[in-house]
């Protein structure tokens, strides 16, 4: 056999989990996209894909790019996971196929029809309350408060202990990152949040009719075991709240910064659902996920060996000019189908319909009731290894 050609994969000195990166990810994304279809990030010894085509391809080849060795930097075949692995996110077919089917049905389009009116009524009430206040923080008082007013009840959670939900989710998404300060601090403080979530996942603590109880009902149908059900409830508690908070926060931040798009939404509130979807593309609340290679594989003409971590830059793919026209523009009438803000393929966000429902009914209520959204104070970013969003967005509403 001939001597292998020298590896021509560009090595970049970019740390995608550093504060410097979080301050301005877009220019670093561009550097990675333009460097080639595959890059190598020396800081954490990982491969990276930042173009749409390769991100989409990796997402859609789970046999080659597996999830069971973890979807963060940590390789579960070498390191003990910080918590028992997820039965859906951190699993491959065929095991994944069975658990995925359960959650898909619990969160199906038919179920969304049943909860739609309740979610819409709560959105109207929340917007009415904030119009009365005029000035408030659009993150704490709206992007967090609205999902907190509907999602825990839809899950069937007890009233007690809900304050653990956001810190637990922040921990989960920080833990996908490298062993940096963000991850270490989150894990050090995690014990009470983990204890709450573990207890809240048990059947006796979930109200009948909620998503949590529906998962446990599948045990009776023989689709999952009694030991699996709490872990599947945990998946919804991990990924069902903070993500929608950041998605809604992104949409409000976009509409406050792009007044022409806000005017288009006001004149046609039926655009609300796509305005939310476009915000998910534009801001990509979930920025990255890892996969691990199960064999030597060619990406863009270079070979990635077996057992390597590959970091997918979802946010970069969603602004790749090879795929999107004017990607830097927030355009609420854009054809957004195909964006990877919710992922793609077998692991695509199982709660995407809940996220869209929340985003749609909230933006539609804003479009009907609010004339103008003005940013009225300093905007502060929140830092997380995986999630992108704001800590504070002071705004003033002008009533319609």
């Amino acid at each position: 056999m001939a001597i292998a050609l020298a590896d021509r994969t560009p090595h970049l000195d970019i740390d995608p989990f550093s504060m410097e990166f979080f301050e301005d990810p877009h220019s670093a994304h561009e550097v990675m996209r333009e460097a080639g279809p595959l890059v190598y990030l020396d800081k954490w010894s990982v491969y990276g894909v930042a173009r749409y085509k390769e991100v989409h391809a990796v997402l859609n080849d789970p046999a080659t790019f597996c999830s069971s060795r973890g979807v963060g930097l940590s390789d579960f075949s070498k390191e003990k996971p910080w918590r028992p692995p997820s039965l859906i996110l951190e699993a491959d077919p065929p095991a994944h196929t069975r658990t995925r089917a359960v959650l898909s049905r619990v969160l199906s389009p038919a179920v969304m029809k049943q909860i739609r009116d309740r979610f819409a009524t709560a959105a109207e009430a929340k917007v009415d309350e904030l119009i009365a206040r005029r000035s408030f923080d659009a993150i704490a008082d709206l992007a967090e408060a609205y999902p907190l007013s509907v999602f825990p009840d839809a899950m069937g959670l007890q009233q007690h202990g809900r304050e653990n939900l956001m810190p637990y989710a922040g921990l989960v998404f920080n833990a996908f990152g490298p062993p940096n300060q963000l991850r270490q601090d989150a894990i050090e403080r995690s014990a009470p949040h983990q204890a709450y979530v573990q207890s809240q996942c048990q059947r006796e603590n979930l109200a009948p009719g909620g998503f949590g109880a529906c998962i446990h009902d599948r045990v009776d149908a023989g689709e999952i075991t009694a030991a699996e059900a709490p872990l599947l409830v945990r998946s919804l508690l991990s990924a069902g709240l903070d993500t929608t908070v950041n998605g809604i926060g992104a949409a409000i931040y976009c509409l406050a910064r792009f007044p022409e798009e806000w005017e288009r939404l006001r004149s046609d509130p039926s655009l609300a659902r796509n305005a939310f979807e476009e915000a998910v593309r534009f801001e990509s609340p979930v920025q990255t996920f890892f996969r691990t290679t199960t064999r030597d594989v060619d990406i863009g003409g270079s070979t990635v060996p077996e057992g390597e971590k590959v970091l997918m830059f979802l946010a970069s793919a969603n602004r790749d000019p090879r795929r999107w026209e004017n990607p830097e523009r927030y355009d609420i009438t854009r054809r957004t189908s195909g964006h990877v803000g919710f992922g793609s393929g077998i692991h695509m966000c199982v709660g995407q319909l809940v996220a869209r429902l929340e985003g749609e009914v909230l933006l539609a209520a804003l479009a009907r009731k609010v004339a103008a959204i003005e940013i009225s104070g300093p905007v502060k970013r929140r830092f997380n290894n995986t999630l992108r969003g704001l800590d504070s967005l002071p705004v003033t509403f002008t009533p319609a």
């Binding site: 089917a101 898909s104 049905r105 199906s108 389009p109 038919a110 179920v111 969304m112 029809k113 659902r273 979807e277 054809r335 957004t336 189908s337 195909g338 964006h339 919710f342 793609s344 393929g345 077998i346 695509m348 199982v350 995407q352 319909l353 869209r356």
Partner: protein, 107 residues
């Protein structure tokens, strides 16, 4: 190339050429057929690429899977015996002339 005929809710027929192997959803979105929303991008999760297959073509398509069947219960327009998700219809030479009627709403 295989010809697929999309019939809009107003009765207008739009005939497009499709590559074999593509899904009917992809064919629709590539050709700017706005009635196909396809929020999930073809992952059989959202039920927003619903079509009514012309009765004489229903038997030419593969069977509806349990997953697709469950999703069809959640479509926005009325479900009929010929309802399918277009992301689950793979274009093949035997489907030349396929007629797909578009519903008036997907959400």
């Amino acid at each position: 190339m295989t010809t697929v005929n999309f019939v809009h809710p107003d009765g207008r027929t739009q005939s497009v050429e499709a590559d074999d192997g593509q899904s009917a959803m992809m064919v629709a979105t590539i050709n700017g057929i706005d009635e196909i929303v396809a929020e999930c991008g073809g992952n059989a999760m959202c039920a927003t690429c619903h079509v009514y297959v012309d009765p004489k073509w229903v038997g030419e398509l593969g069977a509806v899977s349990d997953e697709e069947d469950a999703l069809l219960d959640g479509v926005a327009a009325e479900r009929s015996a010929s309802s399918r998700l277009s992301c689950q219809i793979k274009i093949a030479p035997g489907l030349d002339g396929l007629v797909l009627r578009l519903p008036d709403k997907q959400i």
